[in-house]
């Protein structure tokens, strides 16, 4: 069902964790719906210096969280905003149809964290 890439990210989600005093936090989903993701970002020079996450969910949700954090790290905020459901799934060598919403969730959680950061900064 899952690609090797998915299994790799699921088995070693090295960006999992939280960032104390994060510059932005984005939380999406809720446990009642089955998946929940929280993204934490550290911003430096308009770039994502660090990205971490906590995820409650299936294999896909965890793999998506990790690859989104990888894809985002080092990118400018603007660049990071262009991470979409589609390129997340592609980076994982595909996801089962019924799991596509997970990749959406990951992109959304990151976007929320950026939004949180921007809101704090620009009010």
């Amino acid at each position: 069902m899952y690609s090797e890439k998915v299994m790799e990210h699921f088995s070693n989600p090295h960006n999992a964790g939280i960032i104390e005093n994060a510059d932005g936090i984005g939380e999406v989903g809720n446990p009642v719906c089955g998946d929940m993701m929280a993204f934490y970002i550290k911003v430096k020079d308009d770039k994502l210096a660090d990205v971490k996450f906590k995820t409650f969910g299936c294999v896909a949700a965890i793999a998506v969280s990790n690859i989104v954090s990888e894809m985002a790290k080092g990118k400018t905020l603007q660049e990071a905003k262009s991470i979409t459901k589609k390129n997340v799934a592609k980076a994982l060598d595909g996801l089962p149809k019924e799991k596509m919403h997970c990749s959406n969730l990951g992109a959304k959680a990151l976007a929320e964290a950026i939004k949180d950061y921007e809101k704090k900064k620009y009010g």
Partner: protein, 390 residues
């Protein structure tokens, strides 16, 4: 890598003795049992011998057994066969809220055919309340179907109590015993049922063979119309090798039942107490005592079942889950919903089902790996963070 198979409710390996018994019927005694020459007649005879063996497994008479292609077909034949044969008498059917899909969707099919179906709720352990069943029966009720043991939570229903109510009110009673046969004593007369489904899947016979018990002379509309096979009750050339396999597996099941139960009860109590001791915030699903001997099912807080299964699978452990994420339709198991499990807790569902081949050492291994997997998934979980009060 070590391999510990703990998902016997989903499938069992076909037993060596069963394979051996089946083999000659593929290419040696391969004739069609409906033919009249020597080979056909001998095979017809063999089928009748198997019918007697399966009958014995559940305390029935040979002529009360129909061979089918699965537990699902048995369930469909029971529900549809009775409903179509009795529709003039009434058009109301009662089933429990935790029935297998094959019962549930057969009943739903009749809803679209202007039948009424009552879905009986169950309590937090998955038990049907006899009082409630009694109240649900109407003058136009023709059939009640309540499963003997549930495959997801292991709960065993008080069938004889439930069927007595139906007998008194002249309503037929069917039980899906796919999960119980071979695991606990199943006797159609003690259970006092009119129809009972069983499957090869759960007793070391192949997938693709099942049987339906129907009380002598009960009228039943065939599900698969055809020729004179199974006394006109099920068409299609008989699957002789699998019928022989089911016969052999039935004999073994009778011989081994009590040893198996003792062994499985030991394993079950090891796993249940082990999980309770080592993992906090865990709920046992199903009934604490009235449950299948080899069945241990839990909901583990703050993690998700599919992820857990994959993590265990990486250590060679095979288990199951009723989590929404593990289902194609992304729906929580209706059984977990019916026993009132909150959706977030239901996500953490994990089910271990064992059989005779499982060993005490395996349980220890599973407990260790389960603990580590839960720890890891909780370390990733934003819900656990809040539980720990961070």
């Amino acid at each position: 890598m070590k391999s510990v198979y703990m998902d016997h409710a989903s499938a069992t390996p076909v037993r060596e003795q069963v394979i051996e018994a089946m083999l000659p019927y593929f290419d040696q005694h391969f004739g069609n049992p409906s033919t009249v020459y020597d080979m056909g007649l001998k095979i017809k005879q063999v089928i009748e011998e198997q019918r007697a063996k399966v009958a014995k497994l559940i305390g029935a008479k040979p002529q009360e057994i129909i061979f089918t292609s699965s537990g699902a077909e048995s369930n469909n034949l029971a529900i549809k066969g009775v409903a179509l044969a009795r529709q003039k008498k009434g058009r109301h059917i009662i089933i429990s809220a935790i029935e297998h899909h094959s019962v549930l969707n057969s009943a739903r099919f009749f809803e679209r055919m202007d039948f009424e179906v009552t879905f009986l709720p169950v309590d937090e352990y998955g038990l049907v309340d006899p009082e409630r069943l009694s109240r649900a029966i109407r003058s136009d009720t023709i059939l009640v179907s309540i499963m003997h043991a549930n495959n997801e939570i292991g709960t065993i229903q008080p069938i004889s109590e439930l069927s007595a109510i139906c007998r008194e009110k002249d309503v037929l009673f069917h039980t899906d015993a796919v999960a119980s046969v071979g695991n606990i004593p199943v006797d159609v007369n003690e259970l006092n049922v009119d129809l009972l489904s069983l499957s090869g899947v759960s007793i070391g016979a192949p997938k693709g063979i099942g049987a339906l018990y129907f009380r002598d002379n009960l009228r039943l509309m065939p599900l698969i119309h055809g020729g004179i096979q199974e006394s006109g009750r099920r068409g299609g050339t008989e699957n002789v090798p699998y019928i022989v396999g089911l016969g052999k597996a039935s004999v073994l099941a009778v011989e081994e039942l009590f040893d198996k139960m003792n062994h499985l009860e030991k394993l079950r109590s090891l796993i249940i107490s082990g999980v309770r001791e080592r993992i906090e915030h865990v709920k046992l699903t199903g009934h604490p005592d009235k449950r299948l001997p080899g069945h241990a099912s839990f909901c583990i807080e703050a993690i998700e079942g599919e992820a857990l299964i994959y993590m265990l699978n990486q250590h060679g452990i095979y288990s199951n889950t009723g989590s929404a994420c593990a289902s194609k339709a992304l729906k929580t198991s209706p059984v977990l919903v019916a026993i009132g499990t909150p959706p977030d807790l239901a996500q953490g569902s994990i089910v271990f089902t064992m059989d005779s081949s499982n060993k005490v050492e395996e349980i220890e291994y599973v407990l260790v790996k389960l603990y580590l997997a839960v720890e890891k998934l909780r370390s990733l979980s934003p819900l656990w963070r809040s539980k720990e009060g961070i």
